[in-house]
Amino acid sequence: MDAAPALAKPIEVEAQGLHYARGGRVIMHDLSCRFPAGRISVVVGASGCGKTTLLRMIACLNRPHAGRILIDGTEDVAHLSDGEVHAFRRRVGMLFQGGALLDSMTVFDNVALPLREHSGFPESRIRDEVHRVFEAVGLANVDELLPGQLSGGMVKRAGLARALVERPDLLLCDEPFSGLDPPTIRRIEELLLFVNQNLGGTMIITSHHNETTMRIADHVVMMVDRAAVSGRPRELLAGGDARVAEFFADVADSVPGAAP
């Protein structure tokens, strides 16, 4: 993103005492955690533990049954009115697991959609902006393609481009590495690091890909037993929690070496 003008104003997210149940099953019970401003936080945990639900709560797509989600220590996004949700989401970009691109529209139109809806820019300016994000996420010659014609990695990139095109202060990525081959995973990793360094927004990622977590996370939130433990990756592993040690067993050897 060369000559990217305005940097994002990173925001801090803090969840306090979240409760959530679905179909009679309690998924979260008094869950509290913090996502530091401007950093990459990775949410990990077993399948079905509510990682995606937590992300959707921060995005106001799901509401917790109890508890608060504070933005910069003050605004509670768990209890916003419809209009406030609109305003808040303008500051948030989200990459969905399957990309969530509208498959009746071309890739270009998908990425241009948020600008056409909100910015009021002329079409030439929109074209420049979209091509700039395409370049930043490493996409070329995809303008007229439909999402169905893209590969898995390209779909993630296009989804990321759409999430970034309005320069969000908070970027949420739901399983950005799922279903990708190892080289593509590394390229997406680099891309996320690049975006974090150059745009400077807060990033919250869910993943069950431990190697990646260890490589990119500034902060790890692990969901266990309907609550969360968190910390810097190395501290968390060194903390001696048996549940954490079990979960990260596959990368336990590599961590001391990999972490600076």
């Binding site: 529209m105 071309t106 056409r116």
Partner: protein, 175 residues
């Protein structure tokens, strides 16, 4: 969000053809007139309308010129029939109206017979000369009564005159 022009063309054609079909259905088949309310309204009062119904045809010399708009009972217990006829038609003031039947058992309709008066009927005018419907059952009933009581009957004479008159008029109308 850019549409292929072909798709837009198809949609445009679809809407145009659909609206044209709706217009045809309304105007050519549904008899909708641009003026809305319709043509010239004139009134005719009959002693007996038989099976005449609203929307029945109004003809001049067998050619359809309008339809029966409404039927109601006048103050003197006669049937007041409102006719809706083509306003371009200069009907003389002495036009007469009769209720006829198409075929033996067919629908009943109103036949107008223009006279020679130079003044024409205006909206709301009443037709002076009317001929009631022939009710077949009554006609047959009277015929049987006449045959049964013979020529010497007292009350039957009145009825026989009446029936004869109507039959003659029917013949005249059919000419």
């Amino acid at each position: 969000m850019r549409e292929s022009p072909r798709q837009e063309l198809w949609v445009g054609m679809f809407v145009l053809v659909g609206l044209a079909a709706a217009a045809y259905l309304s105007i050519a088949i549904g008899n909708l007139r641009a003026g809305g309310a319709g043509g010239l309204e004139i009134v005719a009062t009959f002693d007996e309308i038989g099976g005449l119904k609203p929307r029945a045809r109004v003809v001049v010399g067998g050619v359809k010129v309008g339809q029966v708009k409404a039927i109601d009972l006048a103050d003197d217990f006669r049937a007041r029939v409102t006719l809706d006829v083509d306003e371009q038609l200069p009907l003389p003031a002495d036009t007469s109206a009769s209720i006829l039947t198409s075929g033996v058992l067919g629908d009943q309709y109103v036949a107008l017979e223009p006279g020679g008066d130079p003044t024409t009927l205006a909206a709301g005018d009443e037709i002076q000369f009317t001929q009631s419907a022939v009710v077949l059952e009554r006609l047959i009933g009277k015929l049987i009564q006449n045959l049964g009581s013979g020529s010497s009957g007292d009350g039957g004479a009145d009825g026989s005159d009446d029936a004869g008159g109507e039959a003659a008029d029917e013949g005249g109308g059919a000419e």
